[in-house]
Structure formats: C-alpha cells, structure tokens
Homo-oligomer: 314 residues x 2
Amino acid sequence: MEAENEIRSKRYAADISSIREAQVRINSFIHKTPVLTSETLNSLAGRGLFFKCECFQKGISTDHVSKISGNHAAALSLAAKLRGIPAYIVIPENAPRCKVENVIRYGGQVIWSRATMQSREDIATRVLQETGAVLLHPYNDGRIISGQGTVSLELLEQAPQIDTIMVPISGGGLISGVALAAKSINPSIRVFAAEPKGANDAAQSKNAGRIITLPETNTIADGLRASLGDLTWPVVRDLVDDIIVVEDKEIIEAMKLCYEILKVAVEPSGAIGLAAVLSDSFKKNPAWKNCRNVGIVLSGGNVDLGVLWDSLGK
Amino acid sequence: MEAENEIRSKRYAADISSIREAQVRINSFIHKTPVLTSETLNSLAGRGLFFKCECFQKGISTDHVSKISGNHAAALSLAAKLRGIPAYIVIPENAPRCKVENVIRYGGQVIWSRATMQSREDIATRVLQETGAVLLHPYNDGRIISGQGTVSLELLEQAPQIDTIMVPISGGGLISGVALAAKSINPSIRVFAAEPKGANDAAQSKNAGRIITLPETNTIADGLRASLGDLTWPVVRDLVDDIIVVEDKEIIEAMKLCYEILKVAVEPSGAIGLAAVLSDSFKKNPAWKNCRNVGIVLSGGNVDLGVLWDSLGK
C-alpha cells in the first residue's frame, strides 16, 4: 500500500486504480494472452524468461483497448466496430502494408497523409473539424496507459516469480502502464525499456533529464519511432530502471529466435525485448545480475512476409 | 463407458487408459500448450476454430514424448538427454536443415543416410547392432500413439464446446491417438485428417480399404510424407470420419494466415489443418455443415526461414 500511495501521490496520468478499472472494463473484449517459456532461450539468456504474447491479442497485438502506437489504429478500428461507430485513421504513406490491411480488416476508414508529422497533424485536424470525431492519441493519454498497464496485472498473475519486466519503448504508453502497475504491486520489480539505436530518444531523454526528440529515426523497428509525450515522460523518468539500447542486427537475430525457437511470429518492434535481454549491455552489467526471472512483452506481429510467401510459392 | 468399451474391445494399439497413463507419465516434462482463437479466421471458415498450438511444445512441437514423425527426432533427443542416455538419429540427406539443427540442439547424435527408405533402414539396423540401442518408430508404436492422444485430453478440457477435430495425417500416429481419446470421451465428436494431395496415401487407403503406399510423394509439407503403419491403419480406417485432401497452394495460404493473423510460426505440415477447414471440399460438404466448433492441431514449426532473414538483413 505504501508503494501504491507513493506512486499515487506523484499524480501520473494513470495509477493502479485506473489500471484495475480498465481491466474490468475491457475484460470481456480481449484475449488473456498466454505466457510461453523455452529452456533453449533460458540457456542463451542465462536467466528464466517469460514471454507475454501480446502479439496474440485481438486487434493484432493491440487492444487492452489499444496497446501499441503502431498497432493502435487496428485496435481502435476494432473497438469502434464493436461499438457501431466510425473510426477515421490517418495513416502516413510509408506505413507497412500489413498494418494498413489490419485497419481495413477491422472496418477503419483509412485517410492518407504524407510521411511527415506536420502532414499527419494537419490532416487529423481537418478530419476532426469535418466529422466531429474525437482524437485518440496512441500513447499520451491516461486511458490508453491504464489499458496497457493491464499487461502487468495479467503477467504477474500468470508468472508470479517474475522480478524484472522488459518492455519495448516508443511513445512510452505501454511501459508507463506496465511500470505503474508492476511497481504498485511489487516495488522491488525492475522495469526496463528496450529501444533501437536508430530511434534512441528515450535513452537520450533519460540521460538529459528532459524530453529529447530526434530529427529523424532509422531502424527496422517501425513501431518504435515515436517520441515520449508529456504524460509518459514523467513515468519513464521516475519508474524505468534503465533503457537498453540495441542495434537492428540484434533485433533481427531476436526475431529469428522468436520464429525458430518460440514459434511466435512477431514484428521487429515486438522482438526487441528479447534482443535487449540477450545484449551484452544487459547481460554483462553487474547491476542486473540478480534479475533472475524476466518477463518479456512480445508485442506486434505485423511484419511484411511477402518475400517468404514468394519463395515458398516457387 | 460404452464407447470406451467398444473402442477397447477392438484392441487397437492404444486406448483411453493407455493415453491417460501416458499423460500422467509425461506431465512434468511438457508444456500444456495454449488454445488460440481468432474472430477473423472464424469468419473465413464460417465456424468456430480452436487452434491447439502444439508447435509451442518442447522438443519443437514434439514430445508428448514424440508427437510428429518429422519432429520425432528432436523430441527423442531431448527425452534421451533428460534421461542421460544417448540418442542415435538416422537422418536422410534431404532433411530440412532446421530439423537437423534441432536434433543437435537437444544433444542427439546425427547419423546420415541417403534419402531412400532402404538406406535409412540399412543404416538403422547397423546402428542397432553396433550400439545395442532400441529402435523407436516415430508413429507405429502404441506408446507413441498413447502420448500423442494426450493432445485430445488437453484440447477437450480447454475447449469443451469442440464437436470436431482436424489433424494433419502422415504415418497416422497423431490422428490415431487423437481419435481414440476423443471418441472414447465423446463418441459424437468427428475426427478428420488433413492430407496433402501430393502424398495422399491415407485418402487412397481409406478408399481402397487397405494400406496403399505411394512410390513417390511431392508436397511442400515435408512432415507428411510417411505411409500408414499396421498399427495406425485400423484406427484411421475405423475412427477417422473423412480425409480432406488439399493442394500445396492451399497449405501455403493457410500458413500465411497462421503467421499474419494468428501470429504463430508453423511449418507447412502444421498449417494443413487450417487449409483443410478452409477448403471447398470441407466447407461445401453438406455432411459437415453441423461441424460448428472445430479444434485444429497446429503441429511443427520447423520451416527454413533463411530467405526472410536475408531480406530483413538488407
């Protein structure tokens, strides 16, 4: 209770109460995703690993009513469909084809923008004016953070031995929810963010003590290119123990292990947690030596596999 | 009890008792694999689908002490390792690289043969003489069939609404175990085999009323090329309601859906159950119209994904 009160007194955008309320609200709409383990991967990591397969979530690794910014659009489309209301989705022209297909599959109305943030905002503003719609930010929103925090509630119930949680970081919504819930339940749990080197704004922000945004990003993990928001940054600053930065080649290697050992089809952004746990900067850091049982959130499975199907069709 | 007695009186190589005994014996060594669902795939199939993810099993979709003939080798290697005894694995030179790697990963000793059945048998005989080892057939063995039958016990406990089960067929071990257990528990359950057109010996055998073997097979589903054995054939003949034959292109399409919708990385042989459920010959057959809730066994995830990693590495 003390930990809960301490976190509550800081007045972040969400807390354990809002997260538990979100869980009750979304319970009948979601899958309770399984936790997978592999002795082969435990050996590689030198620790126990518990893979929380949010990539199996409805809306494709999304809901808990919209879990990952890159997959927010599909989840929102599904949620709107269930409510019988329209969802307008502004999508930049360079978005992966499969993510656009998921939006269409769930009944979202696609509105194209150019790839710049400015174009996306201009077009979103116009759509709001024309339709009277409400803007739902993919991560900088207490309701989104609360929904995403339910991942911790499930994970710690399914694998209570977990002492560490590794989460991909992009805009910071998922990790904020996960950290707020986990540290309220058990203050000694460590929460780490996994971030690609080519979009390491969160690591730079932690170092600088203020939000740093990058002029451009360059990583295969297309779901992890967003910048921290003013609601997620305070949680990342205060409650995330460290940010583990990995190279794209480490992400691809981890993705390969997910497919070939775990048999789970994740996207690069989703596999980054495993990449971080296997990285030298995590494995060889004496401070993290006693992280014995690590929960890894596998998010997102929206990778374009066209090259694979082409090769099999031959 | 009547159904149990009827099946028992036929004296197949396994029965519900041997299957329940196997479950107790292997319980502490295996994963209880999850059952996944997808509303998108339900819509495509026009029925409720329940995917039993045996591809997540230890030994890579194998154990229940050795589940799929193609993956039998890896499971056996793991089982032997756990017992501290050697496993000698005779592997034809055309086996997929990833399956060989799994054998090595689990400590099996690889002994190469040529691709012919004759060469495999000659070399196996020599190894038995030289080492005093015992031959474990991948499917034509009551112990293997009993272990594989535990899939039904788990599946019907996890999704009791299931009225139909769809299983890949190769040598017939998995489907024999599944059918014996499921029909003992609930005689009205339908059990179907999914078979590739290029290796349709089981469908031909059912039609002919005797075991037919093919001079050669030609299918992408490398795990489904074996022929029925004298212990599996009577079960397939008596208890399998129908054999659904699908083309390789349907298998690839189903595999794609497994990756892109379910986010599960199966091999072609593992995806064939979904291909069968989505095929016209199953969907449009009025006799199967009332198959409302179909359990699909997803087995095996050993596909060579080299082309995918090459493309991502660019």
